[in-house]
Symmetry: D2
Subunit: 322 residues, 4 copies
């Protein structure tokens, strides 16, 4: 399933070292102004090149294939491609020596060795380009709702720059925690049970490579609180609450307060440090050294992707409910 | 959306104080042995009556309406009802005085005051009866996979009995943390991106009332680890790993190791202690006292529901992939 | 798949000789007035008892299980049951002697003989009760759109009463042609390609047992016409056309003129006349005589079902597009 | 909704005069051999250029963007593009002078004039290129099932060449009837009610531009038959029947006999002959003359598209049921 959404639906496709990664967005209303430059800010936030990110250099230029005419959405499906240019062939065999922490082993088994294994193939952070592009369009559908995600901790430290620098120096990698805050969402988005806002956002968020946890409002801390502490007191007739332990969601439905959630990003699997791996030919453990380019802290690039998938969920709910 | 699943699909319906809560399971294969007694153990685990749970007494007898014939599934949709008997009318007006932490306010707004507000209406833990029943059937579809969830902490304490006792005594409520472990899942369940095992399990889990967080494997702890620590070393050709920081999932796909996740349950919103609330008629805060029955620790009843929805996800993936 | 619809979604369940047939309607907006008597007219039109219909007598009383409170829809799923009372056990073995024209053979094979075979089990016209109930609710969602279906021909004859009488006398059965006309549908319902109005209506219509053809506007006759004849001339700025060869649909989208389609209902498979059948035990053809109750012209009861599923499609499109 | 399918899912996109038309196929199993030349025969059958088809000349070269590696499907989504080269700007204004029989009027209304109106935009037979490509892949998933569609009548005549010649000469257009026969489909494909084979095939078929009717087996003729005539006698234990009035489908499920259906294609809307049209600026009827290229008999190109969407339905059912 490479599709998500009910009215505003996205379909991603592509591979790390194929010719293109891309996305199709179906169900987007007509008449939304879209220019190529609208994508720039968010694509730049996702881009590598900064300290702690991979040396792979890509232009990340949006190629709009369909669905946009006279600089506006037409109501027909929007397909956007991103060319892969800076690909490198590797001598490394991901089938016999699956990289620890990567999807190499499971992809080989699941697809009977027919999966494209170059650079991880379809299991690649490169595919998140399409998510960011969809997010740009989704945000325009709900212009009054503001979605802001930021990295609040990396490698267990609030001093993110320092933590990244250490990771780079040591040839290792670190993860991080991202907090996302949505302001101005109306009361009433979401559906009971399987359409709860938490269900939909978590579903979308766990599609981002490397995410291993999510919590809403007080989250895991709530499990230690008493009801008398945790219950949020409503203080005006718009439903504004004094505290926001619920993270803006009651019974799966937005309550008009800020939607707040945090996600845990694991440390990048690819590291420069030599590490042990299993050789499926010799059936023995050996030392593996992965040459080349990797993100020491992929979490640096994730906030904009978190915003993008959250925007897709909220735009979809907005279009469903209006 | 009160439906979930792709091949094995569940649809829940009902209200807390209506005549019935129920579920329809569509897409269940024919020939699975189902007797009424098969539901007893899991329904009993969900049941109230024990210390720390609500005094509402229900028989929770399964009324099988369709889809089972000669004690086997037929391949047609299975509908199961549960009668609500021990309902009580309340003088309390959930519209003018929405209970803090409950869905009263959002339900009233979302449904223009047409929602059934008796006992929370459709937003009720009572609906999880159907989930447990679906879980019993789902478990039978994947008999070799074992799913075990347990409450590992309540109110911040490992001494669960003591914590519950204190909550009851003080007229307050507590939440807890549940760990779920799935053994014997085959390699290769799940799909890249939006069909990731984490996406599907979290989607289902957040449909359970009161869940505010989920983490897989090392989860939030992973965000503090280095790649060299976190990467799980494969140690045999079946893909068994030395550690299990990934919680049995790489790239969204099961890797054959135990699937492990934890969920955070918030403290029950209903408490006996007087608390402040907002009166929508006077537009002033006042003191509210909710008489009657509530769970001091609803988390005690959640493990079997966690198992049930996890079983539904895994049965669905199993049927999709086979 | 016993489900249909995108926003307004229906799930049917039940068996001919089980305890109940039923339906769940999810996605119905709150605040729609529904009383038990609202179902009466349409259920009566579907009912047997008239000349040419089966002697099975059922009360067809709606048992509302959920989703309706204070005589209005609540926004939660609506489940309605119909009790099966007038069931008769039969000595006839549908597995060894599948009835010609029935689903007996395919159901036995598909479900490895676990299907409920009493009276056809899940493959029963009895299940259309739920469709009619859903149609009653759907019609209320789109009150300004009028949907009228009628039997315009039976057994090849416009004199329907006479044709039915002959069929009854001879112990045989006949089919018929039903025309459905939808007036007042707005311009713009439907989506290009797989969401075309013809795609959705035909999908729903072919779920009704016994339907073997559908044509929109001039339909099969159009295949014999020239473009210069067939093209409908627009005559005012609302898009009203001089003729209506298109049946109210261009490019899959409603054009504001009447939606017109006809469906072909095959003759009922069950007949009193002795007929040849295959005995799967002896592996020989033998003469079969089916005692008992059957519709000599099931097509008499189908118009209201055609209206119902059409109403479900249009209500769904209306809710999706608004 | 530009998507179709449950396991084998297709998403189409593109415009007549945009840069590309294309398709994404998700859910295709890995390991299916696909070479560029595999597409040639079917794409050639759809191609224009023959007598009676449009003069628009396109290479129809498949550009494979993703999902195929080492000449085999990988299990990841397959995206294929087709470049539009032979586009011509037209002075003709489809908004003020919508072409009779076309989607111009409804598209303009539905999309608030934001739709791409060049050459019909998204409402174009050009989009069926992707369907044909998907059909080529679908046919490879079910290699033992044979699907053959042919034009059996054009403009009401069995002498198709003559009818086409007359249409071309007169500057008019004709439609036709296509019969599709599927041999070797196993018993048991399809699901009761909304997953009936007739529901799914008709849904897919009506996504093809210009289709206005479909009938299975004896179809509309069945409505004139008696049950004793129409019921198909089983003659061996594989379920082979003496006649095939049911068109290979009972109760919505394949019975192992040939699936047979016919579809009605209306005459192409674009004709060279001057015709009346409505001018939305002057609000008067006037004479319209559409210069240029059109199919005098688009039905000539439709059989391969009918095969393609049928193959998609059957591949999807096959993958769902296996």
């Amino acid at each position: 399933m490479n599709t998500f959404g009910h009215i505003f639906r996205i379909q991603i496709f592509g591979e790390s070292h194929g010719n293109f990664a891309g996305i199709t967005i179906d169900g987007c209303p007509p008449g939304i102004s879209i220019k190529e430059k609208d994508f720039k800010t968010d694509l730049a936030r996702r881009k590598s090149g900064a300290k702690g990110t991979t040396a792979r250099k890509e232009e990340d230029k949006t190629l709009i294939i369909s669905g946009i005419h006279n600089k506006h959405t037409t109501g027909a499906p929007i397909t956007i491609l991103f060319e892969n240019k800076n690909t490198r062939s590797s001598d490394y065999n991901f089938r016999t020596h699956p990289r620890p922490g990567h999807a190499d082993f499971v992809a080989d088994k699941k697809y009977n060795s027919f999966n494209d294994d170059r650079g991880g193939g379809h299991f690649s952070g490169r595919l998140t380009l399409g998510l960011v592009a969809a997010g740009v369009i989704a945000k325009k559908i709900i212009p009054s709702i503001k979605i802001k995600a930021k990295l609040i901790e990396a490698g267990g430290s609030k001093n993110i720059a320092k933590a990244v620098e250490n990771a780079v120096k040591s040839g290792d990698s670190i993860g991080g925690i991202i907090e996302c805050r949505v302001t101005n969402a109306p009361v009433g988005l979401g559906e009971p049970f399987f359409g709860s806002v938490e269900s939909l956002i978590s579903h979308a968020i766990f599609s981002i490579p490397g995410i291993k946890g999510i919590e809403f409002g007080s989250g895991f801390e709530a499990a230690k609180m008493r009801g008398s502490e945790h219950n949020d007191l409503i203080i005006n007739k718009e439903g504004k609450t004094k505290n926001n332990n619920a993270g803006g969601i009651n019974g799966g439905i937005t309550n008009g307060n800020d939607i707040v959630f945090r996600v845990a990003v694991k440390p990048t699997s690819s590291i420069s440090l030599p590490q042990e791996t299993y050789n499926f030919e010799t059936e023995k453990t050996e030392i593996l050294e992965i040459k080349g380019r990797h993100d020491a802290c992929f979490a640096l690039r994730v906030p904009v992707i978190v915003e993008a998938v959250t925007a897709c969920v909220l735009a979809d709910l907005f279009l469903t409910h209006k």
